[in-house]
């Protein structure tokens, strides 16, 4: 069978997209002291065949795109997911009204990849 090439424009290739989370939007502004929000980002886009190096694909993802190109209905493309995240510190009041500073890992998407 011949591979099916789907047109993929640079704009819909898997990459980090901008997402600013404002704590006020989820009603948490009364107990989160700082920050008021942060740039969380998210991953979105396609993992097309052939996977370029910039898409940080695993060997499994490369093979999956190959199979997907042969059978687009039976095998999905690999998923576009965060592969590098960074932490965020938050200052907030807990349920006992204590002031807490906490360091949270994996809060900001820095890099995406096809997995």
């Amino acid at each position: 069978r011949s591979a099916v090439y789907l047109p993929v424009t640079p704009s819909n290739v898997c990459k980090p997209r901008r997402l600013y989370i404002e704590f006020k939007d989820v009603g948490w502004q009364d107990w989160i002291i700082a920050p008021q929000g942060y740039l969380a980002n998210y991953c979105h886009g396609e993992c097309p065949f052939p996977l370029s190096e910039s898409l940080n694909g695993t060997n499994h993802a490369i093979l999956q795109t190959l199979v997907h190109s042969l059978d687009p209905h039976g095998t999905p493309q690999p998923c576009c997911v965060p592969i590098r995240l960074s932490p965020v510190s938050m200052l907030y009041y807990d349920n006992n009204d204590n002031v807490v500073l906490r360091h949270y890992q994996d809060m900001v998407v820095d890099e995406c990849g096809c997995r």
């Binding site: 200052l91 349920n95 006992n96 500073l101 360091h103 949270y104």
Partner: protein
């Protein structure tokens, strides 16, 4: 359905923050300046790709990813003690159950900040003051009539020289706080303050004129206002993976 999903998602996220529910808005405490400084430093460091160990609290020199200012939920036990002039006792209680079982306690430091009420303090006492501070661990508390009787053991006794405006005292209570995490082991602390006016020129005049009894020690002397906080640093190993791994 969507509303329920939102609540479930929120609960999952709050659980990951170590919260049982969304904290209720209240008359919130002031944020300690040291926490603001730490927050600003860590926020700046997060933008630095060459960051050092993110789970090290360099201000206290211990490992941890959570710093809490646990507030004192105790109360004044007695105003002026009969056993000495210028004594005051305060029962302190720090709720250590706010720490999740998975958290490893790295540090518990008691910070007592003293502040003189300049309007109520006699002028001749506005010089440096010596303050005896005794700290007792409450082993057992029993209710007798309307008052509590605390069976206690002396943890620390020391003298602090206070400047006219303010002063502070820092005590390491890590070992004690470890023990408080065991169920039924946290009866709190009793803090006893005793004021000893340091001989200044003003008090010497009183002494030389044989007016020592005129020095209004007792209920007319105001002990400094004080505020106690327990700084607790802990590490949640699930949320603070080693960078080497």
């Amino acid at each position: 359905g969507n509303g329920e999903d939102l609540k479930t998602q929120e609960r999952l996220f709050l659980n990951s923050l170590g919260l049982s529910a969304r904290p209720k808005p209240s008359t919130h405490r002031r944020v300690p300046s040291v926490l603001w400084r730490m927050f600003k430093r860590t926020s700046t460091r997060e933008n630095d790709t060459h960051e050092r160990d993110p789970c090290m609290v360099s201000e206290y020199g211990v490992r941890g990813n959570i710093v809490r200012f646990v507030q004192d939920q105790g109360r004044l036990v007695s105003g002026w003690s009969g056993s000495c002039h210028g004594c005051v006792e305060k029962y302190m209680f720090f709720n250590m159950s706010v720490l999740q079982p998975v958290e490893q306690l790295s540090l518990a430091q008691l910070e007592i900040k003293f502040q003189w009420d300049m309007f109520r303090t006699p002028r001749f006492l506005l010089g440096p003051q010596a303050l005896s501070v005794s700290l007792y661990k409450v082993l057992r508390a029993t209710l007798r009539g309307a008052s509590h009787e605390a069976h206690r053991r002396l943890v620390l006794s020391q003298s602090v020289q206070l400047e006219p405006e303010a002063g502070s005292l820092t005590l390491d209570l890590t070992a004690l706080a470890q023990n408080w995490r065991k169920p039924g082991h946290n009866y709190g602390l009793v803090l006893e303050l005793q004021l000893h006016p340091v001989h200044t020129q003003a008090t010497d005049i009183f002494m030389s004129q044989n007016l020592v009894n005129a020095i209004p020690l007792g209920p007319t002397v105001t002990l400094p206002e004080f505020h106690a906080s327990l700084v607790v640093v802990s590490l949640n190993p699930l949320q603070c993976r080693s960078r080497q791994r």
